[in-house]
């Protein structure tokens, strides 16, 4: 039994205007596991992901990541977040810094890494995502796919125990999707613990250990991909998959 890195217990979230975003959600992710979260828009999948590093506060329940209660005010959130990388739909690279500086910023400031060591690690990660030659460019000079690969390398620069992906390919041109998914597949193969909110069912089927189907703020179904995408899936899920795959 490998250790549990993420444990979401009975989490609910209600906005001030009464809208319920999450309804009694529980989920555990073990070390080395890749969990894909799918569902219609507005089902709460991004909200759930963002509660894992407290970008989104919760109303009740508990989220434990790496053994720490994320939403406990006594938790050192900065320390915890440094160990949980996040990749966003809109990349969110720092436009005033070069690619290399984007990767070096957090290690230099948060970890106080020596410039030479941070640069060496950043170059290694840029090589890994295939963008070593772009190190002195600014993000605006890169394509979407390249920006997202830099964003993944930036998250990896902090040597995180967990990576969270919030619809990493949704803002990309169709022909740029695969270059990003390939990097993510490589990470999964290395045993990285990953939570991926995505619409890429092919990726979920090929890479995920478990797939979560969310609807109206609740987890409606969780299963291994072969059964999740198979004929034994519940009717509502099959309806959703049918819309996504053939719509």
């Amino acid at each position: 039994m490998t250790e549990t890195l993420i444990e979401v217990s009975a989490v609910s979230k209600t906005y001030a205007n009464g809208v319920v975003a999450l309804r009694d959600v529980s989920l555990a992710v073990r070390k080395g596991e890749v969990v894909c979260i799918v569902g219609p828009s507005g089902s709460g999948k991004s909200t759930l992901l963002r509660t894992l590093n407290a970008l989104e506060p919760i109303s009740s329940g508990e989220v434990r990541v790496l053994g720490q209660a994320v939403h406990d005010p006594r938790t050192d959130l900065n320390r915890l977040r440094a160990q949980v990388g996040m990749v966003f739909q809109s990349f969110n690279l720092f436009p005033h810094r070069t690619v290399l500086e984007n990767l070096m910023l957090a290690p230099r400031i948060v970890r106080r890494t020596e410039a030479a060591a941070a640069r060496e690690r950043a170059m290694r990660l840029l090589g890994k995502v295939g963008l070593a030659d772009k190190r002195d460019q600014h993000p605006a000079q890169l394509s979407g796919g390249q920006q997202q690969r830099v964003a993944i390398a930036r998250a990896l620069a902090m040597d995180p125990a967990i990576l969270l992906f919030d619809e990493p390919t949704s803002a990309l041109d169709p022909e740029k999707v695969n270059e990003v998914l390939d990097v993510m597949k490589g990470l999964a193969a290395e045993g990285m613990t990953m939570c991926v909110v995505t619409h890429e069912m092919g990726f979920a089927r090929a890479v995920a250990h478990r797939v979560v189907f969310m609807e109206a703020g609740s987890i409606a179904h969780v299963d291994a991909p072969e059964r999740f995408f198979g004929p034994q899936a519940p009717p509502r899920l099959r309806e959703f998959l049918g819309q996504v795959l053939h719509g």
């Binding site: 590093n53 970008l55 900065n78 320390r79 977040r81 440094a82 160990q83 949980v84 990388g85 996040m86 966003f88 809109s90 969110n92 690279l93 720092f94 436009p95 005033h96 910023l105 957090a106 400031i109 948060v110 600014h138 993000p139 605006a140 964003a151 930036r154 998250a155 902090m158």
Partner: protein, 318 residues
């Protein structure tokens, strides 16, 4: 339209612009001739830069002994054994054996010295530069307060901004000079810098707030998700981008600051405007002097906008 045609059309508009400017200048000139006023432009340059030379004055009462070469003189004190040797002058004002008193002019040293208007310009420059520096610090702190999550910080910053923007600068200057200056025992210059910095800081705060709000939310989220604290994220990620976005507005505010600094002439500070008033009262040439003073302000503000434009171009990489 061909390129040559476009160019010639452009030149036609430039010519029209020049014609209108010249027409306006001629109008001003004609108006100047019509009024009962004798123009004496020749009086003004001496108040900007003086070619009269520097006056060497007697340090104490005493008798003058001229040197043999006419290039030096010795002053022997009247009541003590003290003597002073004075050299390096170009024109003598006193004669051999003359009795002079402390502060009397002994000789003139040729050279160009700044006139009262140049000194006024210098004070205005010092006043504006120092106020700009402090206004930037105050503005960034208050701007951060405006966007803070903490209600106390937000209310404090909002109160500051509203109080300052809701009262005239001239009234604030009086309050700083008479009340704050008295309570804290400030010099007129310090009180002037403080008044201008506090006033401009309120406007800078609003510019900084707008700049921060113009940076996409995702930037803060990305920085925080990497483990940066709120202040680290502000300093390294948000503020550099906000600063770039608000540079044009900041430049406008700092040009205002230079112009607003003319109001401190109500305190005992001889800035460019006060110097202008003094020169008017000694030359009786108000028209020429105020035109000159305006041109000197334009020199400062023009230099500032030029510098900002260059800075903008340098930051325009992304």
């Amino acid at each position: 339209m061909s390129a040559a045609e476009a160019r010639s059309r452009r030149w036609a508009w430039v010519a029209l612009y020049l014609a209108i400017v010249m027409l306006l200048a001629a109008g001003v000139y004609a108006a100047g001739q019509r009024v009962d006023y004798s123009w004496h432009w020749e009086r003004v340059p001496g108040y900007v830069l003086s070619f009269d030379g520097e006056e060497l004055r007697a340090p104490f009462d005493g008798f003058v002994t001229l040197g043999a070469d006419g290039r030096s003189l010795r002053l022997s004190a009247l009541r003590t054994a003290e003597t002073a040797q004075i050299t390096g002058f170009d024109r003598l004002v006193v004669g051999e054996g003359e009795l002079v008193f402390e502060g009397d002019v002994l000789a003139i040293q040729a050279g160009i010295t700044p006139g009262p208007l140049a000194w006024g310009l210098w004070l205005t420059l010092k006043l504006s530069a120092l106020s700009l520096l402090f206004a930037l610090v105050i503005g960034v702190v208050a701007g951060l307060g405006r966007v803070a999550a903490n209600p106390a910080a937000r209310a404090l910053a909002a109160t500051y901004v509203e109080a300052i923007r809701g009262t005239p600068l001239l009234v604030q200057i009086f309050i700083f000079y008479f009340f704050v200056g008295t309570v804290l025992d400030l010099s007129a210059f310090t009180a002037g810098v403080a008044a201008l910095a506090v006033f401009t800081g309120a406007y800078v705060a609003e510019i900084v707030r707008a700049g921060i709000e113009a940076v996409p939310r995702g930037q803060m989220e990305a920085a925080r998700s990497l483990g940066l604290s709120y202040l680290q994220a502000m300093r390294h990620v948000i503020l550099p981008q906000a600063f770039k976005k608000s540079l044009p507005a900041l430049a406008g505010q700092f040009i205002n600051l230079i112009k607003d600094s003319s109001l401190v002439s109500v305190m005992a500070l001889t800035d460019l405007t006060k110097a202008g008033r003094e020169v008017v009262s000694s030359t009786f040439s108000p028209f020429e002097v105020w035109f000159t003073v305006a041109a000197m302000y334009l020199l400062l503000t023009g230099a500032l906008s030029l510098w900002v434009r260059r800075l903008e171009r340098r930051l325009a990489h992304d």
